[in-house]
């Protein structure tokens, strides 16, 4: 509860910041400190210190799973602010509003990580989506940004419609929005229940950019300002998956056998399309868009398997994937040329950037001793443990091998190709931060339980 209230308040505060001051540094400082406060408040929530006590009538439940995810989402956003905050200021003049919108998104994230009623799910997803439509189009004079925004809005609105329809159908069957009520007694599928389930599945797949509902993703990620792509492709995407698994476990957990195959097919298709298409991209930004689809395919493993390992793994996956992708985007933002050739010879001019970027790419590819390896390991283990979807595991593994191709293309460009590197201005603090994140990625790669255990033990001692 702390997180929801404070993030909403912070969003309003940030909006007023823009009115009272024009100093971009001050605004950024407020945002960074505000987010830190938000993170601490959320951590305290986990420890049992609730600032507000309102009767929620069972609409929201704050369990460790959701709160842990919040912490990771807020932490990643905080790192994102530090790394790419300056680049946000280059997008346009309304810096304060960008921060405000991001805080609203975070508010939505803390709702979808704790909803217990389908209405709350709808609310959370909308609170996430609407600020994103605006952020996508925030580069007002850029035609591509406008196009992306409009496309995102139309498609998003459509899928929201599907979701509402699904919720309505399920309400018609069960007479309640409450997930526990819905879960109770649904052991066999009735036609109306099936329709509702499918509509919800499709709309969530759309939000998570799973195939075949992924077509908006490359255009939107490519068109929107790169800073915001970074945010959308990482933290928001992970949040959608948390909502996804929460919804399907909460409402349709008993019916898993019925829909497991369908989700497995979606996962396989997502993996396949994301990876194969990424191979053919010429722009790193677009490649990362497709790579985010491919990674979504892996995150869907959690939904297919739906056991303890899967849920733990999803949290870990979010952290590993977000950290690495935010890092790569931060480097990408400093480049003027987004093509693979633009990276040629980067290792000579900017060894720190190249080395850290390599760590992030290795992590995304899932090489051991990086966090990404454990992310994939957990997902594969969860699916193997489940036992019904060995074919999906093999598909996933082969697709992971394909992903090496395009991630390593960047490494090859940086290290093995001669090129005229672009002028890149970086500060010492930026480099230091990148090294810090790379260190975290490697540390998590060697001691994956460190993160989770630290958080757990901190609260339950």
């Amino acid at each position: 509860m702390n997180a929801i209230v404070i993030s909403a308040v912070l969003g309003v505060v940030m909006m007023f910041c823009g009115v009272f001051t024009n100093s971009k540094t001050a605004i950024r400082a407020v945002a960074v400190i505000g987010l830190l406060v938000l993170t601490i408040a959320n951590v305290m929530d986990m420890g049992g210190y609730h600032f507000v006590n309102v009767s929620l009538k069972g609409m929201l439940t704050f369990d460790t799973f959701g709160l842990l995810f919040n912490t990771i989402a807020f932490g990643s956003t905080w790192i994102y602010f530090l790394l790419s905050g300056r680049d946000m200021e280059r997008v346009g003049v309304n810096v304060a509003e960008y921060y405000a919108l991001i805080f609203f998104v975070l508010c939505g994230i803390s709702i979808v990580s704790s909803f217990n009623s389908l209405l709350m799910l709808f609310l959370g997803i909308e609170i996430i989506s609407i600020p994103l439509y605006i952020l996508t189009g925030s580069d007002k004079r850029n035609l591509k940004s406008n196009e992306a925004s409009l496309k995102y809005f139309l498609m998003g609105a459509f899928s929201t419609g599907l979701m509402l329809m699904g919720i309505t159908l399920i309400y018609g069957v069960k007479g309640s929005f409450n997930m526990e009520v819905i879960r109770l007694g649904s052991t066999a599928l009735t036609p109306m229940m099936t329709a509702g389930l499918l509509l919800l599945l499709f709309s969530m797949a759309f939000k998570a950019s799973a195939a075949p509902f992924h077509f908006w993703t490359p255009d939107v990620y490519d068109g929107s300002p790169t800073v915001f792509t970074s945010f959308m492709a990482t933290i928001v995407k992970a949040a959608v998956f948390i909502a996804f698994i929460r919804l399907f476990e909460g409402c349709f957990g008993e019916l898993q056998r019925e829909w497991q195959l369908l989700v497995a097919i979606i996962a396989a298709a997502t993996l396949f399309i994301g990876n194969i298409t990424a191979v053919f991209q010429q722009s790193v930004k677009r490649m990362l868009a497709y790579s985010s689809i491919a990674q979504a395919g892996f995150m869907l493993f959690a939904l297919v398997a739906m056991n303890k390992m899967a849920k733990e793994g999803l949290i870990f996956y979010s952290a590993a994937y977000s950290l690495a992708t935010i890092g790569i985007f931060a480097v990408l933002l400093k480049m003027k040329d987004y093509t693979f050739e633009g990276f040629n010879g980067l290792a000579k001019r900017q060894p720190v950037l190249a080395a850290t970027n390599t760590v992030f790419l290795l992590s995304l590819a899932g090489i051991p001793a990086t966090a990404g390896f454990w992310a994939k390991f957990y997902m594969l283990s969860a699916a193997v443990d489940n036992g019904h979807v060995m074919w999906l595991v093999i598909v996933g593994v082969l697709c992971a091998a394909v992903s090496v191709y395009y991630y390593f293309r960047v490494i090859q460009a940086m290290y093995f190709k001669e090129g005229d590197p672009q002028e890149i201005e970086t500060s010492g603090a930026f480099k230091g931060l990148l090294i810090g994140i790379a260190a975290i990625v490697i540390l998590l790669g060697i001691f994956p339980h460190w993160l989770i255990n630290q958080l757990y033990s901190f609260f339950y001692l």
Binding site: I367, P368, A369, S381, V384, A401, Y405, Q412, Y415, H449
Partner: protein
């Protein structure tokens, strides 16, 4: 304690080597490190206390995985091979210059860390960890310092092995969930008793990874290109030590864990090995490039090792152990000679060389001995291994076709004599040409390494007993787990 030292010394020293910018100092530094590692690698043969050879540190208790390292006879031997290979390579290539030498040598040491880690890990997850970690430095070494087509070739190599290891990871996870105590420990893996049909497909998940690494036909296509394009120092590590990871993997993680699968598919795998032996020998006969010739001859030799394992016999496995070590020594010797030739004449084409023996007798003697060891002439070290392996194939009780394997495999040995002697003749005898007329003999450091190698080759060929004794226990342990009562 010893295995930890073996990993920590090259790791720490390798990381430090990134900071030493001067070429001379970084070369000395890495050489010293590798010699210290060698000394530590010799120690286990003198120590018999279990606590010295075994380390178990909690790593991921929730997953049932621990940082557990054990050295049995096989690990000892392979660690010794790694320990010998690196200083040997550093000394023999002392005069080669690299751009950014600090990065090169640092990556070499990191690769050594990974290799030793693979050989001593007694936890499946840890094994996988090191298995991949050995690959990353190799990837960078070949891609940065290799020949003209290096990037594409190395990439092929990387993707190939990565696919294999990911499939193995799935296999490892599957076995893990079926261990009685949900643990990645080797002892738990050995306790797993999976039904036959599961072992059948699990066998392929593991086998692919190891077959690509060894490489076994038809998964070998990355190998000749990679050997040709890599800098020679790296090729030596790849062919001398890294391919042994595949054999080692089969002996430690495949055959004892999935005996039924190995038995069921053993003949298929052995057939692939035999086809590879003949095929590689035939291709080797057509080669003009020395590096490619040796690369193909290595495929043939690895095929024989695979064959000896998959027909399942105690003598054969013993032979494989001996041969793993000897093949490493011999092939590194061959590469050193190739490197010397290439550095002097800037060509590796046999057609452009000739008559070298007249001006460089030292080099000629060295090559002839190493090459004869490569064809397993009696009195050389390889003879012992190959004899035992063929003996094992002949006496195999679990294979139906072992006589055919024996005959066809024997033909490949004859073929190997053909191309090796042909190589010696073309390179060292005959008339000199303009290129080779002004040839000079080899330097002292190169002589030193080669002489040590030669002594090793002969001594191990005449008196292999210590090596056999050191590995006897490991062989018995593996064989007893592999042996399936025939219906």
């Amino acid at each position: 304690m010893i295995p930890v030292l073996l990993i920590v010394i090259p790791l720490v020293s390798g990381l430090l080597a990134f900071l030493i910018k001067q070429e001379k100092s970084v070369k000395t530094w890495t050489l010293l490190t590798s010699i210290i590692t060698l000394v530590v690698a010799i120690l286990p043969f003198a120590l018999h206390k279990a606590s010295d050879l075994h380390t178990d540190i909690a790593w991921l208790p929730d997953l049932g995985s621990s940082f557990s390292l054990t050295m049995d006879g096989m690990s000892k031997l392979l660690c010794l091979l790694t320990g010998i290979a690196f200083p040997g390579i550093f000394i023999a290539t002392w005069n080669t210059t690299y751009k950014n030498p600090h990065n090169f040598f640092a990556l070499m040491l990191l690769m050594q860390t990974g290799l030793i880690g693979v050989f001593v890990a007694s936890d499946a997850l840890l094994f996988y960890f090191f298995w991949e970690l050995a690959l990353i430095p190799a990837y960078f070494l070949c891609s940065i310092w290799g020949g003209e087509r290096r990037v594409a070739v190395t990439f092929k190599f990387f993707i190939y092995t990565f696919v294999g290891s990911l499939l193995m990871l799935v296999g490892i996870i599957w076995v893990y969930f079926h261990t009685p105590d949900h643990s990645f420990a080797m002892t738990s893996f050995y306790k797993v008793n999976l039904p036959g049909n599961q072992q059948g497909w699990l066998f392929w998940l593991f086998f692919l990874a190891f077959a690509i690494k060894m490489p076994i036909f038809p998964f070998h296509t990355w190998q000749p290109d990679t050997y040709e394009q890599s800098p020679t120092a790296v090729t030596m590590v790849l062919s001398g030590v890294m391919v042994k990871m595949g054999v080692f993997g089969i002996l430690r993680w495949l055959a004892p864990v999935l005996p039924l699968g190995t038995w069921a598919w053993g003949d298929t795998a052995a057939t692939l090995c035999v086809i590879g032996m003949i095929y590689a020998s035939l291709v080797a006969m057509q080669q003009d490039d020395l590096k490619r010739l040796i690369a193909y001859s290595s495929i043939a030799h690895m095929g024989l090792m695979g064959l000896a394992i998959f027909v399942t016999s105690s003598v054969g496995i013993q032979g494989v152990m001996v041969q793993m070590f000897n093949h490493g020594v011999n092939i590194i010797g061959l590469w050193i000679v190739v490197e010397l030739i290439e550095r002097q004449f800037h060509t590796r084409k046999m057609s452009e060389l000739g008559g070298l023996a007249q001006n460089a007798p030292g080099l000629a003697v060295m090559l002839v001995v190493v090459a004869l060891a490569n064809v397993a002439l009696p009195l050389t070290n390889a003879f012992v291994g190959e004899f035992m392996m063929f003996n094992g194939v002949f006496g195999s009780k679990s294979s139906n076709y072992h006589y055919i394997f024996m005959v066809v495999g024997g033909i490949s040995i004859i073929l190997s004599a053909v191309y090796t002697l042909n190589m010696i003749q073309k390179v060292f005898y005959g008339n000199t040409n303009t290129l080779t007329a002004s040839a000079h003999d080899i330097r002292f450091n190169e002589k030193l390494v080669l002489v040590i190698l030669l002594i090793g080759i002969v001594v191990m060929g005449v008196y292999p007993k210590p090596m056999i004794e050191a590995t006897q226990h490991a062989v018995d342990a593996i064989y007893s787990k592999m042996f399936v009562k025939l219906p």
